[in-house]
């Protein structure tokens, strides 16, 4: 259960809200670089944190992320002409550069300098690891560029996708740290998905469907450890990382690429689920990339020409009751990503957390809310930068480990839980 005031604080991220200020402390993934593939290409409408923006790439290849609407009479600049280092409104010809600065107002004499008085709000937009990142907070508090490992590995080592999630960001993110659902909802995929199957660790998973959990605060967020019995009295640990506000990394399986997510609010009722796969020490194999493109693992198949999943709420996620009955899938929905998204969207755009009945295994979720609320309070009352802004908090890894029974995993697994350049993830 969460009080309504707290639910509002965490779920509302528009301008001027405390939750919005939290998100505006970070570099956030805004678009895939492939959405702006060429100089002077068509601009892309971007809604982020309930702000309507327009992304474009100018003649020199500079990325701009500016207010979507022309300062003159409010036309959407999505109709604009991307030409000669700027975006020109097709209505009366006002032109803006990549910083939102108006550089031409054709109706006014050039010498009047009128255009210098017009500037659209803009945010920096920077490419890193195939993702265009933006920072929407106060310019004087702009943090260093993000250092998530997946965005720093050589090209070819990573695959990043995004999908529209028709729900608030928080209920989606909470699914990412809710380790206790895996034994139910996704039980079929461990042995069938090409990006999961074959790992030794899977046997521990399948043998022991009632793991014991340990939730441990980390500098940037949480470690969520799930423990199962292994040989000789040792434990098989799967340790998920959550870094504030909404980054998660799922523990690896065998030599497969490791994966994780970001959940980024579009507005209060929609979000982007970003999904990445990478391998720190080798390029992804062609068949792996092929599987990811096909929507296997944590990725999805799309409605052609969109980032909306092919299985969506308008077609009841293509639920297959026969597969559900036969146990081929637990919920009847195919694929890990849509198994999660279908259920999270079914809660309604913003779930009413006053009606929940949480239990002990929900402590990961309870702790994440606790830390987010604490961070919002510290930010609002004392201007304290929230956890996760510091690049040290970003240099983390998930891990799958076999450990002796009496050691704290954050101690025994210390090396495994942070980035070690040139070394693969600790995995079983």
């Amino acid at each position: 259960m969460l009080r309504k005031e707290h639910n509002d604080l965490l779920t509302k991220t528009g301008p001027g809200t405390p939750g919005g200020r939290l998100f505006r402390s970070y570099w956030l993934p805004a678009l895939l670089a492939e959405e702006l593939p060429e100089n002077e290409g068509p601009p892309v409408r971007v809604k982020l944190l309930s702000e309507r923006l327009l992304a474009f790439r100018d003649t020199q290849g500079r990325y701009g992320l500016i207010d979507e609407f022309c300062a003159h009479r409010g036309v959407s600049l999505w109709f604009g002409r991307n030409e000669e280092s700027g975006l020109r409104c097709p209505y009366h010809g006002w032109k803006y550069d990549y910083t939102g600065q108006c550089v031409e107002v054709p109706s006014e004499p050039e010498e009047s300098g009128f255009c210098t008085k017009i500037k659209l709000k803009s945010y920096p937009l920077v490419e890193r690891g195939g993702v265009l990142w933006t920072y929407m907070g106060p310019p004087d508090q702009e943090p260093p560029l993000p250092e998530w490992e997946f965005a720093l590995v050589p090209p070819g080592h990573s695959f990043v996708s995004k999908r529209l999630q028709e729900s608030n960001w928080l209920q989606a993110m909470e699914g990412g740290i809710d380790s206790s659902h895996v034994s139910f909802l996704h039980r079929g995929e461990l042995s069938s998905d090409p990006l999961f199957k074959g790992a030794k660790g899977n046997q521990y998973n399948l043998r022991d469907s009632r793991p014991v959990f340990e939730v441990v605060e980390s500098p940037g967020g949480l470690y969520v450890g799930a423990r199962r019995n292994a040989e000789n009295g040792h434990y098989y640990w799967r340790i998920t990382q959550w870094v504030m506000p909404s980054f998660t990394m799922i523990p690896p399986r065998g030599g497969h690429p490791v994966h994780g997510h970001f959940w980024i609010p579009i507005d209060d009722e929609n979000s982007w689920t970003w999904s990445f796969d990478y391998h720190p020490v080798r390029p992804l194999a062609p068949d792996e990339v092929e599987a990811m493109r096909e929507g296997r693992g944590i990725h999805v198949k799309y409605q052609p020409g969109t980032f909306r999943p092919l299985a969506n709420k308008d077609n009841d996620y293509l639920i297959d009751r026969a597969a559900q009955k036969a146990g081929r899938t637990f919920s009847g929905v195919a694929g890990i990503a849509m198994q999660d998204a279908s259920l999270q969207e079914s809660m309604g755009p913003i779930v009413d957390r006053t009606k929940e009945n949480l239990v002990s295994t929900d402590n990961g979720i309870i702790m994440a809310r606790h830390r987010l609320l604490r961070a919002i309070k510290n930010l609002m009352e004392r201007d304290v930068a929230p956890p996760g802004v510091d690049i040290l908090h970003q240099r983390v890894r998930s891990a799958a480990l076999i450990l002796p029974p009496d050691q704290a995993f954050k101690d025994a697994g210390k090396d495994a839980l942070s980035v070690r350049p040139g070394v693969a993830h600790a995995s079983v």
Partner: protein, 170 residues
């Protein structure tokens, strides 16, 4: 043929979620395992709770059992000092939450844990002050709690305890 009168949720559809209670009160017994946790429990007890009850087993760590004459009934008490019968307390609980501070020795955890598994009551263990404690100190407390908890939480600050109990409707 489809006969459903509502489809997957929209904000408008969400308004029709039935607004009736979907739970009955649960009894959560919170047991402080050491002196510092007992101080915390005493502070929490002052708040209003729905079904939380605060107990302490800190006497156990202060006074280790001597030989066979030790009685397991003698050391569990409520915060006003009244002795409580362990098995009766546990049997009446939906959930037992054990609280320890990192670095403390918590020998009572094993006995309470055993009683919980006997009575099939879910146990949660909270270790407070995990940030500040050394790894060795944390591991010591952890090792005593780990075998008995279905869920173990290492929290940096004691503010988490109240938040967790509220989340569980305690």
């Amino acid at each position: 043929m489809r006969s459903e009168s509502t489809r997957a949720s929209s904000a408008a559809e969400s308004r029709y979620r039935i607004d009736a209670p979907n739970f009955r009160p649960r009894t959560v017994k919170v047991v402080a395992l050491d002196r510092p946790s007992e101080v915390l429990a005493a502070r929490l007890e002052q708040d209003h709770w729905d079904g939380a009850m605060f107990l302490t087993a800190s006497a156990f760590s202060a006074r280790p059992p001597v030989g066979a004459s030790f009685s397991v009934q003698a050391w569990l008490s409520d915060l006003s000092g009244r002795t409580r019968h362990l098995l009766e307390e546990i049997a009446g609980a939906d959930q037992v939450v054990m609280i320890a501070c990192a670095g403390q020795s918590v020998p009572a955890a094993g006995i309470i844990g055993e009683a919980c598994s006997l009575k099939r009551v879910a146990t949660t263990a909270l270790i407070i002050g995990g940030d500040a404690a050394s790894d060795a100190a944390l591991s010591r407390t952890l090792a005593q709690l780990r075998p008995w908890a279905l869920m173990l939480v290492v929290a940096g600050s004691d503010a988490y305890v109240a938040d967790m109990l509220r989340a569980l409707r305690a």
